[in-house]
Assembly symmetry: C2
Homo-oligomer: 367 residues x 2
């Protein structure tokens, strides 16, 4: 193999595929990046068996071939090369020479044949989404995936297309997060559960650009994201995702409209006191035109008051402040609705105009 | 005690004094900030027994008094308060109320009398230095203080005034760093050793502003830095600082002039290979008009070439690349001199015009 390419193109490719390189593994080949020069072009490929990434790099190919290089040292070398043309040559023993200006590295590589190929994903079923929108929807839901693996399916997010909506949903025992967007598909409805890690990595690769789209292909076992210069393949999680809609009651006894930033800042301050003794809740009291937030510990207490518009009953209810803070941080609206039934039923946060999102938070019982 | 002040003034003061609050201690009072309102004004004070800081805060004092508050929770509360006027009230049981807009915190405090006063430093001997210059001189030398405490005096930096120069010096077994500036003092020569921790904290408080000065007062045991709104007191380290000048030979067999950035980038790259097997040195070969840097391990090798101007002999010598990188990173000049005697004697880095700095690095013996 022999080729030349620019340092900056090479670095872009390496940075992208690094996201699917195993760092802790007993299989050395999983710590590698595959360099593949064929008549079709130059590609970098990584694969940690859950997630795989391929990235195209503009190059002048003098001789085709492949080699697998340890990702850590190869990426560090590329990062520190002068900003100029890079020449990469691989001999029959996978010994790889990297030359740029007056710098010359020789490093040992592994045979490209040892590298585990990415799964083949058929392109029969697909959708096209704005990169910006998908990136946002992941950011606005990913915080509430379950971390423990008791029910593996909850460590991922549901992506479904149903009733001309694209929904992304995550949930754990304390809360549910839903983001929706209008969406028309040419195919049947879709419902898959994507691993949280895949979504974290893909959201770093997606550009915050509404003009750019990503193509997403689905099979029973895999999902494939196709971008301009790279593709990302991930396995899907197996198991039934809970029927989340059943948690959202349409009935309520109290509905308030509140300034989102004021609520976030007040709960953030109240959490300072509640955190002092672990897991002490904050108490929310809804009066006629104000919400009072308090927290008491042996160490001290805090009192916060916020103006609200209220419909329905007065109420006292307690929460772990973290679950409120996580959801409020990803909402961009100025005002939101909070809907309550009683002190033992969840609070539902929703949009004042529209239904782009719904968040559900389970309360803590007050003694 | 009762007073009002602005949130931003209070936050500035708290941020400054936080630097001398103990985080791991068995004495709870050392984890506190003292709030002291007297007829002279409002002060925040911290003291971890090695370092003490006092910061003045503009305030409207309604009733004088003192209280010691846990620094962690008090600073977090102040940080998150609305950007408005803050009212602080302390009752006879040191119960402290903090009110800002519709936010109200009550927290328990300790009696101000339990707080350990800062040492009294006489103001007989002093110097005045630009804050920017002092900040720079600390940054350019602090990296080579000794970390192990076998000789405690080496965990600090020498500050000396001698022959109309102000010198700051640090050294460990592998290297010496010296920064100098022209300086005329009205007093006798000064030579004190300041703890590394003190210098780290003071350099964060110093402003990068050549128009602003810091007054420094010296006694046998203590040093006091006086800034516009705060003073910092530190104990000094005891013991004799090594006579560092003796390490710098005036004679040499090889002198080269080299581009500092090129040298830094080349050694940085070569270190990638040398790091792969721990503590493998880089080898420097000085030829007629070029420096060759190489490193070989089982894993691979690297070759770097840099143009130089040379006076004297050719040479082969080996170093731990980290010691070169640390020093080169803090030098701002475009070109520097490197002076060598033989493969077993230190390399001395110095300025091409002037003697603002000197760095000495001990080589590694090549097999």
């Amino acid at each position: 193999m022999k080729l030349t390419c620019s340092k900056s193109d090479l670095l872009n490719g390496v940075t992208t595929v690094l996201k699917a390189v195993s760092t802790r593994t007993t299989l050395p080949i999983l710590e590698c990046i595959l360099l593949q020069a064929t008549s079709k072009g130059f590609k970098l490929i990584s694969n940690d068996l859950e997630l795989g990434i391929e990235s195209n790099v503009n190059a002048d190919i003098i001789e085709t071939g492949t080699v697998a290089l340890k990702a850590k040292i190869f990426s560090e070398i590329v990062k520190k090369l002068p900003d100029n043309e890079v020449e990469i040559t691989v001999d029959n023993n996978n010994y790889t020479t990297i030359i740029c200006e007056k710098t010359k590295f020789n490093i040992s590589g592994f045979s490209g044949e040892e590298f585990l190929q990415l799964p083949n994903v058929s392109k029969d079923t697909y959708i096209k989404v704005s990169q910006l929108k998908l990136k946002e929807m992941i950011r606005q839901t990913i915080f509430s995936i379950a971390l423990e693996e008791i029910r593996p399916v909850l460590t991922g997010e549901l992506l479904e297309i149903k009733d001309n909506k694209l929904n992304i949903v995550s949930l754990d025992v304390h809360r549910v997060s839903i983001r929706k967007m209008d969406f028309e598909s040419d195919f049947d409805d879709i419902s898959v559960v994507i691993p949280g890690k895949t979504l974290n990595e893909i959201s770093k690769i997606l550009e915050p650009d509404d003009e750019k789209d990503v193509m997403i292909y689905f099979t029973d076992k895999h999902i494939l994201f196709e971008l301009e210069e790279s593709i990302i393949v991930s396995r899907l999680l197996e198991g039934d995702f809970p029927k989340y809609e059943q948690f959202f009651s349409k009935d309520y006894d109290t509905l308030i409209k509140i300034d989102k930033d004021e609520l976030l800042r007040s709960i953030d301050r109240a959490a300072l006191i509640s955190r002092e003794t672990k897991n002490n809740p904050i108490k929310i009291t809804i009066q006629n035109d104000s919400m009072i937030i308090t927290s008491n510990t042996d160490f001290g207490d805090v009192y916060e008051e916020i103006d609200i518009e209220k419909e329905g009953n007065e109420l006292e209810i307690a929460f772990n402040p973290k679950y409120f803070i996580d959801a409020l941080k990803v909402i961009d609206d100025e005002y939101i609705y909070l809907q309550f039934t009683n002190p033992h039923s969840p609070c539902i946060m929703k949009q004042v105009d529209g239904d782009d999102y719904k968040y559900l938070i389970v309360p803590i019982r007050i003694r």
